[in-house]
Symmetry: C2
Subunit: 165 residues, 2 copies
DNA sequence: CGGTATCCCATTTGATACTG
DNA sequence: CAGTATCAAATGGGATACCG
């Protein structure tokens, strides 16, 4: 698509930013410590003009911060803002899913581990206010304060579908 | 891009499937209980040929299961497989990020709640083997058994970058 | 209903060249 | 180094028509 939708659902909104694969890969590289234009380019294998576009958008969106680090103004670094760093959660979620369902056990190219124990981490979960992990079945999606009629209808419809069962 | 990369990293692999926004939206709809071709089409506003393509790919990938539910073979339903249902984690992660950093507090179109208490869920976390949520700073990404030289280099490089600080 | 086939247009892409 | 400019080629997009 590439074309923007205007659904109020945050998923659709977020996808307007991250619909492009390059963008995810750029952010992944940032988590690995990459901050320079040429490094992104080399590691990802992206064309310069595309990288330039994507980085500009990400800076506009407040996900990266561009700093001048050159002695004479010819070098820049791109670092994740808090907003950008918060993308670690979706990114890790995708990684764990891919490890389990694409790579498969024993073939993972990248693993997540607990720093202290070195143990592998394979599970990600919603956490309650009291700090307890919540089972997927105990989670409900509901319409929020920013919902429009379309979303209200959708949840109404979802309720009806469940009743029919 | 659309073009497939062949990096072994599970993120890149997963993006080969989900690089397309339509795909995420289709899966989102599936979580809302949608299972029919025409419903997907109407709710997402996607062209028929595109929907057909995307669904075919998703069935091939083992994310949806296509069942014949028609009396005379003219009706089908698409349901998430366990592999597909596991995408709830990345999807929720994206939703929470979008709620916090795009919609903002009080403007969320869709919220996640705990079924029993009705309390809003805003946090997602990696969970240790012993069932404890892990802080982001306590997580390390390391090269796994399926890593190639490129990935090993990347982590080597990341270590060097940290030492410099 | 659940698609497939076809067409045409807008966009995206990557390569190359160029610049401060 | 960190881009911008340009451009031909490929791709993705939606609309329409058609089918079992």
């Amino acid at each position: 698509m590439t074309q923007t939708h205007n659904q109020p659902c945050a998923i659709a909104q977020a996808l307007n930013i991250f619909g492009d694969n390059w963008t995810w890969l750029i952010i992944r590289e940032a988590f690995y410590g990459v901050s320079r234009f040429s490094e992104f380019q080399r590691n990802i294998g992206i064309a310069k003009n595309l990288l330039s576009n994507r980085l500009s958008t990400l800076v506009e969106q407040g996900i990266f911060e561009k700093k001048n680090v050159g002695e004479n103004g010819t070098r820049y670094s791109y670092h994740l803002t808090p907003k950008g760093a918060a993308l670690r959660t979706p990114l890790f979620a995708i990684l764990l899913w891919g490890n389990e369902y694409i790579s498969g056990d024993g073939n993972e190219a990248v693993l997540l581990t607990e720093r202290n124990t070195g143990r592998q981490l394979t599970t990600m979960s919603l956490v309650s206010e009291s700090g307890e992990p919540i089972e997927p079945n105990d989670v409900r999606a509901i319409a929020g304060p920013g919902a429009n009629q379309e979303i209200l209808d959708k949840f109404e419809n979802a309720r009806n579908l469940k009743k029919q069962k």
